[in-house]
Amino acid sequence: MSFDVAFILSTLPAFLKAVGVTLQVGLIAIVTSLLVALVNAAILVYRTPYLQRVVQLYVELARNTPLLIQLFFVYFALPSLGLKISGFAAAIITMTFLGGAYLTEVLRAGVEAVPRAQLESGRSIGLSEAQLLWHVILPQAGLLSLPSLFANFVFLLKETTVVSAVAVPEILYTTKSYIALYYKTYEMLAVLTLICVLLFLPLSLLLRYLEGRLQHGQFGS
């Protein structure tokens, strides 16, 4: 079997762009998911009546349906209701829907892991509830959630490959296009695998390093 290196080289500019799209979708989705999760976690932690039920329902729905089906629903079903959106927008919406649910649980668990005694201790020196949240609860909850937060960031980035299904030109879509056009299946899958390893593995390592640094800086050991 021949391995067409020249062909691979000719596709690299396109793959470079695809990596850009993957990172763009992934990073935007991480930020929007985090925003959604912050609001949801606050609702859950403060046990807001009614809204709490809505958030719980959302989390269960989002975590127990496949991402691909969510994506098809947003991309194909919403237009029939008169909402026409691009593949890119559908990708961001769906990724946020899924990521928001996972991160909600991560943040809620983090806040609930802060010992109650820390709250009493903060109140006993006269901190207001807002100051307590800002100076005591959030920093500690953040540190407690860091490992699972970072794991979910990497998870979301990897899941971006699913949005190739609605023609967002990220790495998997680009791979499939080249395979369909030139039948270079072996070469293209090799490139895709290599890109995934080069993209996600260093990221995982970087996040682990940051996590260690942050916790060291905060807790001093």
């Binding site: 820390q118 006993s124 020196i125 001093g220």
Partner: protein, 258 residues
């Protein structure tokens, strides 16, 4: 002179259970009051009510003549006047010692940083921990953390300090360093309310012993009278448990093997 702290007919319930029953207690400015009693007698709850960590269910509670149980009481204000130290220190684990000490003065009292810092360092030096100012709580021993927790409360310049079994989680060597700090405060004339099981310490530091059982104050007296001549049967029984340890016979020397 009227009392600085005044509980009058003070009641507290946890669910159906009444944990404080019509408690009357007055503490003068500068007085050191030690509250003794068996576990679950309500002594910790009494302190926590004074700091607003528990809400009251009737009666009166006055601080400097001001009714605290009236609606609209600003507990944040009260807590700056009434410092509280807990059994398990509860320092903020994500902050250095200095940040722990400065959080209240800077964020709650909005004081100048250099002034609050100078006070924090002076108090740290006083408890012998100035060299630990940049350490994190988990790098410190229990006794060191507890002394820092005391300084954290003192940095708010409170009128009263509440100590809730602050040596109960410490080993005997560390108990000493913490008790010395409290004794120093007592000597300075600070108003202290102390819940403890360290009987010898109670006897040494208290102006008055308050003995509680099942949510009531059964007896109040100066330490010498209380320890040498408790008035109630319950207090006698309570004190016997402590003297029992001291009166245990020494273990017989093992017979030498022949």
């Amino acid at each position: 002179m009227s009392a600085l702290i005044e509980f009058e007919g003070f009641n507290k319930f946890f669910g159906d259970q009444q944990v404080l029953k019509a408690v009357d207690l007055q503490v003068r400015r500068g007085e050191v009051v030690v509250i003794l009693g068996p576990s679950g007698c309500g002594k910790s709850t009494l302190l926590r009510c004074l700091n607003g960590l528990e809400s009251a269910d009737g009666g009166h509670l006055r601080l400097g003549g001001e009714e605290l149980l009236a609606p609209g009481t600003d507990w944040r204000q009260v807590r700056q006047r009434v410092g509280m130290v807990f059994q398990s220190y509860h320092l903020f684990g994500h902050m250095s010692v200095l940040d722990n000490l400065l959080l209240g003065p800077l964020k709650v009292q909005k004081r100048q940083r250099h002034e609050a810092l100078a006070q924090a360092q002076a108090l740290l030096a006083r408890v012998g921990l100035l060299d630990k100012r940049d350490a994190y709580p988990r790098q410190l021993s229990g006794g060191q953390q507890q002394r820092i927790a005391i300084v954290r409360s003192l940095c708010m310049n409170p009128e009263v300090m509440l100590f809730d079994e602050v040596t109960a989680a410490l080993d005997p060597e560390m108990v000493k360093e913490v008790l010395q700090v409290i004794q120093g405060l007592a000597r300075d004339g600070m108003t202290l309310l102390i819940v403890t099981h360290e009987m010898a310490f109670a006897r040494a530091v208290a102006d008055r012993i308050v003995f509680m059982d099942a949510g009531r104050i059964l007896e109040q007296n100066d330490p010498e009278s209380f320890f040498s001549n408790p008035q109630t049967a319950r207090a006698q029984q309570f004190l016997e448990k402590f003297s029992y340890m001291e009166s245990l016979p020494k273990k017989m020397p093992a017979k030498e093997l022949s």
